[in-house]
Amino acid sequence: MNEMKTKAGGGNFEVRDYLRLDLMPHFMCPGCGHGIALRALLWAVHELGIDKDNLAIVSGIGCSGRVGAYIDANTYHVTHGRPLAFATGLKLARPDLKVIVITGDGDCLAIGGNHLIHACRRNLDITCLMLNNEVYGMTGGQVSPTTAENRLTTTTPSGNSEPAFDACKLAEAAGAGLVGREVTMQTPALRNLIKAGLEFDGFSFLEVMSDCTEIYGRKNDLGESAEMIMAQKSDMRPQAYTTITDQPFRPNRLVTGVLAQSDRPEYGATYRRQAAALRGETA
């Protein structure tokens, strides 16, 4: 890790160095957590000294998916739910690229859920950043697979009655090499988690608890963005779970940091080693 640090050429982190400033102002609502996640990601990229020319960002569709376009790198904005599948092809074809997927809770766990479990299982060297705002932000605030029970959304007018996914447990069970969760409130900790994911040789699944202030926050009377972000750490969140039917399914207290790590072999290297052997080449 220290060795990587010394590679960072640019001195102090300046987020502007990594953004497409021509595209400003950005589309995000005031207080949206996705912007904080973007900053933390770029901070991690900076500290690891990753060359922007060799950085590929693949994102799906959603507010989370739109974030990628602001990054001054090779950016791919693909179809809803499919960024992990696209990234799988890109990384297998170009192992030299650093491939990061930015996805949302709907993109990654609903329409893209099957791709997530298989990306975890393959353990190809991709870092997946799932920005979990517990809602379909872009389409106007419908329920998502991570919406907490009882929450109001535009398609759960009397409160959500479905239990929410614990995406990290899912990713761990499916075999992801590294699994972690962090809140946007702790930006340096989030940066560190993303660095751990980027440095990990294998599939890293990182869940970022991000706030949809404008739609989800407003609908559920969660206060201004500052209040929402404070709530990430306080005990308010567990309270919301006191009446849920399926408590153990999702943690009622947000556990953060690296939650699981394994030394399963990275898929791309395994495939290339086998292929080289077939060609009669020695590794």
Partner: protein, 379 residues
């Protein structure tokens, strides 16, 4: 190196054509009657430094193909009806973002799961219109094992030259037919590689129009750091809903194919010069039609065959020329009448257009075609 003669199945010919064309990435999901393409690719690709991956479904397969192609590697997938349906949204992304790729669809009976082990030609219109919105498409319909091989190579060449998805449509019969074919002499094979962006990355506009209408593609790692999106985008690659930009972007996609019809269209004419009854047939049905036309000629009927190999864009002018003396056109196909609609659109005001349609999972019999040619000649 002299070219060698081999007995190959259609599906294996497709795989070998892809390898010869420079395809180095395949992602797929098993489905009858296409699976042997994937199986062969899984064996061939590692030997030539390529990558095979069996994905979790057909959507993932085409998405992975687009990812690999974006990385600069010639890539393909293969499937059949149900999988072809699943791929449609991402075929649209390939068209919109101009990511070259080849999709082989080995047609079986539909709708839905249909008749998995029986041939059909029911996806002709889906190939044209299956993905939403106005977008260009190139679709090729080989009629023999040898032609599967050649047209697979051509599919890659067209896909690279025009930065567009190219669809190969053949059917269960050809896919499992064993025929002797001459593999290409690699030294004399004409292969096309997409034009890569070169020169300064400052002010580089990845979707700027060029004389050919096809912009050079920036390769990740080459310093361009561009944006690729399925959202309608301006020349700079970034999304726009500005009416003039939206019009320009969509029109250029359509024009880049339309303006190169001469290069893209491929077809064959047999005895069409004086043909009074013109048969228009493609793929396996064209082989029955060819036999029937010969038979009809032997009976003294002025019959001819027009065989589109490129079915989209349809070779319109060539068809009209072939139909110049026709009093009737017969369109035998293994569907309820799909290409017939296109023939009616092109020639229907001048001449009677009839279908000969089989929807029973059986290939068309030459005798059926001969019979209907005779009836049309007598009218």
């Amino acid at each position: 190196m002299t070219a060698t003669l081999q007995n190959l199945h259609g599906n294996h010919a497709c795989a070998m054509g892809a390898i010869a064309a420079g395809c180095r990435f395949f992602a797929g999901y098993p489905i009858t009657p296409s699976s042997e393409i994937a199986e062969r690719m899984s064996r061939e690709l590692p030997l030539v430094g390529g990558t095979f991956v069996q994905m979790e479904d057909e959507i993932a397969s085409i998405a992975a193909v687009l990812g690999a192609s974006s990385g600069g590697i010639k890539s393909m997938t293969a499937t059949s009806g149900p999988g072809f349906s699943l791929k449609q949204e991402n075929i649209g992304l390939a068209a919109a973002a101009e990511i070259p790729c080849v999709i082989a669809n080995v047609m079986r009976g539909g709708p839905s799961t249909g008749t998995p082990t029986r041939p059909a030609q029911g996806d002709i219109m889906q190939a044209r219109w299956g993905s939403h919105g106005d977008r260009p498409v190139i679709a090729l319909t080989p009629a023999s094992v040898k032609e599967v091989y050649d047209q697979t190579i051509r599919a890659f060449n067209l896909s690279e030259r025009y930065r567009t998805p190219v669809i190969l449509l053949f059917d269960q019969v050809i896919s499992h037919l064993l025929e002797p074919i001459q593999l290409a002499d690699m030294a004399s094979l004409e292969l096309v590689d997409r034009q890569w962006a070169t020169g300064s990355s400052a002010e580089f506009a990845p979707y700027a129009s060029t004389e050919s209408g096809v912009p050079p593609m920036p390769r990740p790692g080459d310093g361009y750091r561009t944006h690729t999106t399925g959202l309608t985008h301006g020349e700079d690659g970034f999304p726009s809903q500005e009416p003039t930009i939206v019009t320009q972007a969509t029109q250029r996609l359509l024009d880049k194919i339309e303006n190169h019809r001469d290069d893209i269209e491929a077809y064959e004419c047999h005895d069409t010069d004086d043909a009074e009854v013109l048969v228009v047939a493609y793929g396996i049905s064209a082989r029955a039609a060819r036999a029937a036309v010969r038979e009809a000629r032997a009976m003294g009927i002025a019959a001819g065959l027009f065989r589109p190999i490129t079915v989209w864009p349809f070779p319109e002018d060539a068809l009209k020329a072939a139909a110049a003396n026709a009093k009737a056109i017969l369109v035998p196909e293994m569907n309820a009448g799909q290409l017939r609609l296109e023939i009616e659109r092109l020639c229907g005001s001048d001449v009677k257009v009839e279908g000969l349609n089989r929807i029973d999972g059986q290939p068309i019999d030459p005798a059926q075609v001969t019979q209907q040619i005779r009836e049309l000649a007598d009218k």
